[in-house]
Symmetry: C2
Subunit: 307 residues, 2 copies
Amino acid sequence: MGRLRPCARYGLLMVPYLLALGLGAALLRALEGPPALQLQDKLRAELAAFQGEYGACLPTGALEELLGTALAAHAHGVSILGNGSEAGTWDLPSALLFTASILTTTGFGHMAPLSAGGKAFCVVYAALGLPASLVLVATLRHCLLPLLSRPVGWVAVCWQLAPARTALLQAAGLGLLVAGTFVLLPALVLWGVQGDCSLLEAVYFCFSSLSTIGLGDLLPGRGHDLNPVLYHLGQIALLGYLLLGLLAMLLAVETFSELPQVRAMVNFFGASGPLTGEDQGGILGQDELALSSLPSSTAAPEQAPAC
Amino acid sequence: MGRLRPCARYGLLMVPYLLALGLGAALLRALEGPPALQLQDKLRAELAAFQGEYGACLPTGALEELLGTALAAHAHGVSILGNGSEAGTWDLPSALLFTASILTTTGFGHMAPLSAGGKAFCVVYAALGLPASLVLVATLRHCLLPLLSRPVGWVAVCWQLAPARTALLQAAGLGLLVAGTFVLLPALVLWGVQGDCSLLEAVYFCFSSLSTIGLGDLLPGRGHDLNPVLYHLGQIALLGYLLLGLLAMLLAVETFSELPQVRAMVNFFGASGPLTGEDQGGILGQDELALSSLPSSTAAPEQAPAC
């Protein structure tokens, strides 16, 4: 077999990637370990003080048990605190935000299904909905990219840019537009509207949502005694932001991935020699499928096995 | 302009999609609303009973304040409960799992940065790491798909399948392989290892992680008094699972997206007429870029503006 060690160069990419994973972890550990430990110590000191002061009246472990159940329920979005007039965790705007977070794979996790039926439904819903999301995005991309490239095409003609530079300009332009419109601008709005979060936290939240990481540690409005109408409006705004922003971001990613420089990089790391992998084997390409009206023997692979 | 209403058919896709979003929300609300309300009522009754029994010794609001701070810290992975011998939230395996959850966009959210430096680092790390992840996956796809298609090619020759059927067989085969190896099998292992979760919950967790939704409500081992070594081994196993499983899943998605049936569907919904969008405008294709050695005037777009 001629390609005994195919794509050996991807090791050049894999090793730094894994190193970056490890270094990132080490750095975050250095940055976050101490504050987390401090907070933990502070909390436990508070608990100890509380027990010390009032422990005489509390049976052993009763407080811990209460805290434990409260924390466990919190993971599903059910709060032990709050007054009885709330509609509960699964009001319609919250449910919509939850389904949107599933279909966009953001998965904030501030709410999660409790029942077996709910969990099963989530799996089925995601299994059907995620491919549908992908088809929708592919379709919209099909429509929107030509529209987006038109202004860039005009600029290219006016400035007499080479096609390669035009592609770079398009990618850079789209990237900046998306970053500005879907990360910076919403972050500024959030920062303005929500009094107690810094601009960094707002950018962090917008970026985390748009990249579909969805850590869910900062959700606007949660835990605040907001006017319910405002809170729900905020949830619907977030929902729209997720859907539109993700579409924009995927368009930008697609644009970058089609750049010749990026393709060359992928080809470089993925090739074992001068021939690119795309010329050989791989999934049946458009051309071969176009030939599908011909007898299948014309599409025989290189090494026919003995049947 | 000839294309006044481009890609009007995508509305046929968009409307059902938004309807599905709404219906999913309504259905989840019906499934989850009652259990969540019940849990909430139960918790608040417990709190009320607690206060009723021991409230005499507790100052007003002291317990609520304690609960509030405990819940807020919990969102960052800091637990008020537990003994002092733990290494803290950001031990190395936990930090590695966190960075992996960022790079794979899963974002469990069971831990989150507290400090401004940590948040800023996460944004930068994701902004650099996500494109790197995409390049890595593209490269590996470049290498692995040819290998995967070889057995299918042999089968196609033996059974004299048409190329279109071969592609379908490849996609279906890969899909089943990924579902079996990366969802069902790990779910069975998890179910076997972790005594208190059902098979459904294990499948739910594996699916949620692999699809990068990452709700984070069920994280194996959390909250259990496990042997720390076992717990950390579990975290490392989860880390490997995320990285490998996601790669496998993306390969499967790529395979499906290249199916002629899928492409035809995207073309159908994205076209405004017989001409496909790909023939016109759009991002500069490979051919045009190959012509980049020629003067740029050859690549002038249809409608040259007056400069």
